[in-house]
Symmetry: C2
DNA sequence: ATGCTCTTGCAAATGATTTGCAATAAGGAG
DNA sequence: CTCCTTATTGCAAATCATTTGCAAGAGCAT
């Protein structure tokens, strides 16, 4: 009864047409638990023999992000945007600056804080961006300036 | 004995040469407690009679950000970067999506959380981005989708 | 199989930011 | 105060990521 989380299932769940580019992009994101930039996705797919267009990658990622299949984050020290799976269970991520692996942070550490902040500032708080950066066990090096 | 926080004092404190563009940009940021984009700064200065170059604004903001006189944030729903004063007392900001006013968040709500997270994931955590978005009292409207 | 609509590919445009280079200005030495 | 070295600026052109217009090409409900 529970659908397995294949690219196909996901795409269908969101009422999107099942197309080759969408399958390719989503399968890549599913297979790696990583942030990828549009060009990394494009490069990889082309390098591994698929044929699709760069703008299609952008459009696909835009669509996925609207539907909350993916999430868009700003990559530190780069102008590019990163994309990663938006799994329902999290809102924030821990990103390894070495290998770009993404560890989802389950549960939002800011819930209580937001309430305090709203009371204090009288703002209506509608959201926040939180991304934590670091180095995973493998990548730990004297990287930081 | 305590230096007042004029643009001049600040620029000197960071061993930067005191130049007209730097004074203009920093004074603007000091006078408004707001996030401003490079083009907003440029437009404003030119409109109010100053003469300086767009790339100089970028270079100035880059320098200020390196020295931590300013801080660079990603503006939501825009490709542009926003710049605001980096006051030593805070790391994070609450930004009003209506008027772009910035309220510095004093103290980091993630200190304790980062330690937990490091222990749990065995990452060496080197930093994080946190920006909270909302609407200030004045701007509260049925804005959110 | 047919048609309506959503997607794609391609090429060109856009928009933000960066860069090379020569001219200029800051600030220390004398 | 003047000279000198070096950092900074202006300008124009380049770059880089991302977006867009448009015509051709799928999906998929019927």
């Amino acid at each position: 009864m529970t659908d397995s989380l294949t690219a196909e299932t996901i795409i269908r769940q969101y009422n999107l047409k099942l197309t080759k580019p969408r399958m390719l992009v989503l399968n890549l994101l599913l297979s790696r638990q990583e942030v990828l930039t549009a060009d990394e996705i494009y490069e990889f797919l082309v390098r591994t023999g698929s044929s699709l267009n760069f703008s299609t990658v952008y459009r696909t990622l835009e669509t996925f992000t609207e539907k909350k299949i993916t999430e868009k984050v700003k990559m530190p020290d780069s102008r590019k945007a990163g994309f990663l799976l938006f799994t329902m269970s999290h809102t924030h991520n821990l990103i390894c600056l070495g290998c770009h692996k993404v560890i989802p942070i389950h549960g939002c550490p800011l819930k209580a804080f937001n309430e305090e902040l709203a009371a204090e500032t009288r703002f209506e708080i509608v959201g926040h961006d939180l991304t934590v950066y670091g180095y995973c066990e493998k990548c730990r090096k004297p990287h930081h300036q």
